[in-house]
């Protein structure tokens, strides 16, 4: 780096300064996240007798959740749904957010009110959103079916039918979170130098060209944040499906995701049976490897894209 800086800032003091900046966050995280997680993850190598570890089991728990029927079926079923959720959110949530952000960028009359409104559901809890959409999607009394009945479409059990249950929960999730990517992308767009946009306009660029060739490349940092948070969010998805479809991913496991499967395995549910910390921890380790690995690769690729632009 520039030699100028090194001269004005002695290496020793610099190290101390950096350590001072990092220490509080590192300490708190180590004490209340890293250490408890490591002690829990250790359990993934143990077999269990009831709630207590019974002995070292090597990779047995991993073998069970990855290869042994029926556990492996449940694992891959859940993983597949996580992938579906991620892709759906990337396309529909982030896509809509991008277009909405562009619409808001135009600063038409009332744009401030629209910004407030689109973000309003974000402040609600998943419990509120889950119950609300359960009521709206209710097969007999729900507003969605009642509205469809007005135009002559028959009632449908949105959350009860295996083919529509996951999609319905994803829609509720989009309604809940749409404001977040919208405002982050809008923030990114507003950071673009106004002269650049103006110059493009004067060159005769239409909205489509402006979006794809000017705005999209220039908001790369915001896009990176949204991509990564969407990925992590979809693979840790838990609360909304939990409230709307229950711990077992009803109906018939069609809404089961890794978060639910892990929680139900580790802590049991009063109505399906017993707890298995060993298997549950193994699932969490696998989730960690998957999410951290992909995040790390994606960050490298996306940051390179940012640098190239």
């Amino acid at each position: 780096m520039p030699s100028r800086r090194r001269r004005s800032f002695l290496p020793r003091r610099r190290t101390l300064w950096i350590a001072f900046l990092l220490a509080p966050a590192a300490l708190i995280m180590t004490a209340f996240v890293v250490w408890p997680l490591l002690s829990a993850l250790r359990l993934s190598f143990y077999s269990f007798n009831g709630l207590r570890p019974a002995g070292f089991a090597g990779l047995e728990n991993f073998r069970q959740v990855l290869i042994e029927h029926p556990f492996s079926d449940w694992t891959y079923n859940a993983l597949f749904h996580n992938v579906v959720v991620f892709l759906a959110l990337m396309v529909f949530e982030n896509g809509t957010a991008f277009l909405l952000a562009f619409a808001l960028l135009k600063a038409l009359p009332g744009h401030r009110v629209h910004q407030v409104i689109v973000f309003l559901p974000v402040v609600l809890s998943a419990v509120v959103v889950g119950f609300l959409w359960k009521l709206l999607l209710h097969p007999l009394f729900g507003l969605v079916n009642q509205s469809l009945a007005l135009v002559g479409i028959g009632a449908h059990a949105w959350l009860g039918d295996e083919s529509t249950a996951l999609g319905s929960i994803i829609l509720a999730n989009i309604w809940h979170w749409l404001g977040f990517p919208t405002l982050v992308l809008l923030a990114g767009m507003q950071r673009i130098d106004k002269e650049v946009l103006e110059a493009a306009r004067l060159d005769g660029a239409g909205d489509f060209k402006l979006l794809t060739q000017i705005i999209w490349p220039l908001i790369a940092p915001s896009v990176t944040i949204i991509y990564i948070l969407t990925f992590i969010g979809s693979f840790n998805w838990f609360e909304l499906p939990y409230i709307m479809a229950g711990l077992t991913g009803s109906p018939g496991g069609s809404t089961d995701v890794l978060g639910l499967y892990f929680y139900r395995t580790a802590f049991g549910s009063t109505t399906t049976g017993i707890q298995d910390f060993g298997q549950g921890s193994a699932l969490a380790v696998l989730m960690f490897i998957l999410i951290a690995g992909v995040t790390w690769m994606a960050l490298r690729i996306l940051r390179r894209r940012e640098a190239d632009l």
């Binding site: 990092l22 250490w35 629209h114 910004q115 309604w175 982050v184 923030a187």
Partner: protein
């Protein structure tokens, strides 16, 4: 000149940009209005439902409630420690956010603005906290807090929230701080400003949009969380609002009206705060960088 004026000026009058393929302002406005309806109508339904009886919800979901009877609200008010829960939630949320913003920003600043060995590894260390469900660690976490005599205390809860909030705070702040230009920092350094001053007075004011995003992004899950208080807090005096209401609503599992009253009351404080502060908040997120 206000920012809205500036936006209007840079975009120019509609006639100036009718070249190429452009969406009409009318079409855009229509999309925004439709979106607003989709966002607001369910909330309206929720509010209305909290004044209804089960029978009303089931037989006439579209209709306005027969009366704006406060019966459901009175039930929540009389049978729970509502004000106490509310105060606890406010205290815990504000304290957690404050600590998250301070320590998260410090760490992100170190990672984003200085080059040092292992900075990539340090960032990954922090980010890894986002990638595993902390629920898994609830038993060791509980034992850890018990050893430190932090079970059933505000401090214990706040520390857990801070630990959970740090990773995403660092992630967002690092991204933003990295994108700030080097020039300002360098010239301040040439003027002899200390690192401390540069961080506090030169760089962080520029990162205001990210700070607002971090605060909001953490406030929402912390305010709404009921899982950790359920396990870490036992005294009724220290319960948070979602926790208190979750326990209360458990007594009325089939009474949708009471349920929605509880949910509306839990959501109302943060919604009102958001609406009241939305001008600053939106401005903070979307316009901070222009300054």
């Amino acid at each position: 000149m206000t920012l809205a004026d500036r936006d209007a000026a840079t975009h120019g009058p509609p006639s100036a940009r009718k070249r190429g393929f452009s969406l009409g302002d009318g079409a855009i406005q229509a999309v925004l209005v439709l979106n607003a309806f989709i966002m607001l109508y369910p909330l309206f339904v929720m509010l209305m439902s909290s004044f209804k009886t089960n029978a009303e919800i089931f037989t006439s979901p579209f209709a306005l409630p027969r009366s704006l009877s406060p019966a459901n609200i009175e039930k929540v008010w009389n049978e729970t420690n509502f004000v106490r829960y509310l105060a606890n939630s406010v205290g815990v949320t504000v304290a957690s956010i404050a600590v998250i913003v301070v320590v998260g920003t410090m760490a992100a600043y170190a990672i984003a603005r200085y080059e040092f060995r292992f900075s990539g590894a340090v960032l990954m260390f922090f980010l890894s906290g986002m990638t595993v469900p902390l629920k898994l660690a609830i038993i060791p976490l509980f034992i850890q807090l018990d050893t430190l005599h932090l079970i059933d205390t505000y401090a214990g809860l706040v520390l857990v929230y801070v630990a959970m909030g740090i990773p995403s705070a660092i992630f967002i702040m690092t991204g933003f701080l990295r994108s700030l230009p080097r020039e300002l920092e360098e010239s301040a350094r040439l003027d002899g400003a200390s690192e401390w001053r540069i961080m506090l007075y030169v760089m962080l004011p520029l990162a205001r949009p990210a700070l607002v995003i971090v605060a909001i992004q953490n406030a929402v899950p912390i305010w709404n969380d009921f899982f950790f208080p359920l396990i870490l807090i036992t005294s009724d005096d220290r319960k948070t609002l979602p926790q208190g209401l979750t326990v209360f609503m458990g007594e009325f599992t089939t009474n949708w009206g009471v349920l929605f009253t509880g949910l509306s009351l839990a959501a109302l404080p943060i919604t009102l705060v958001y609406i009241a502060l939305s001008r600053h908040f939106i401005a903070g997120i979307t316009q901070g960088a222009v300054k």
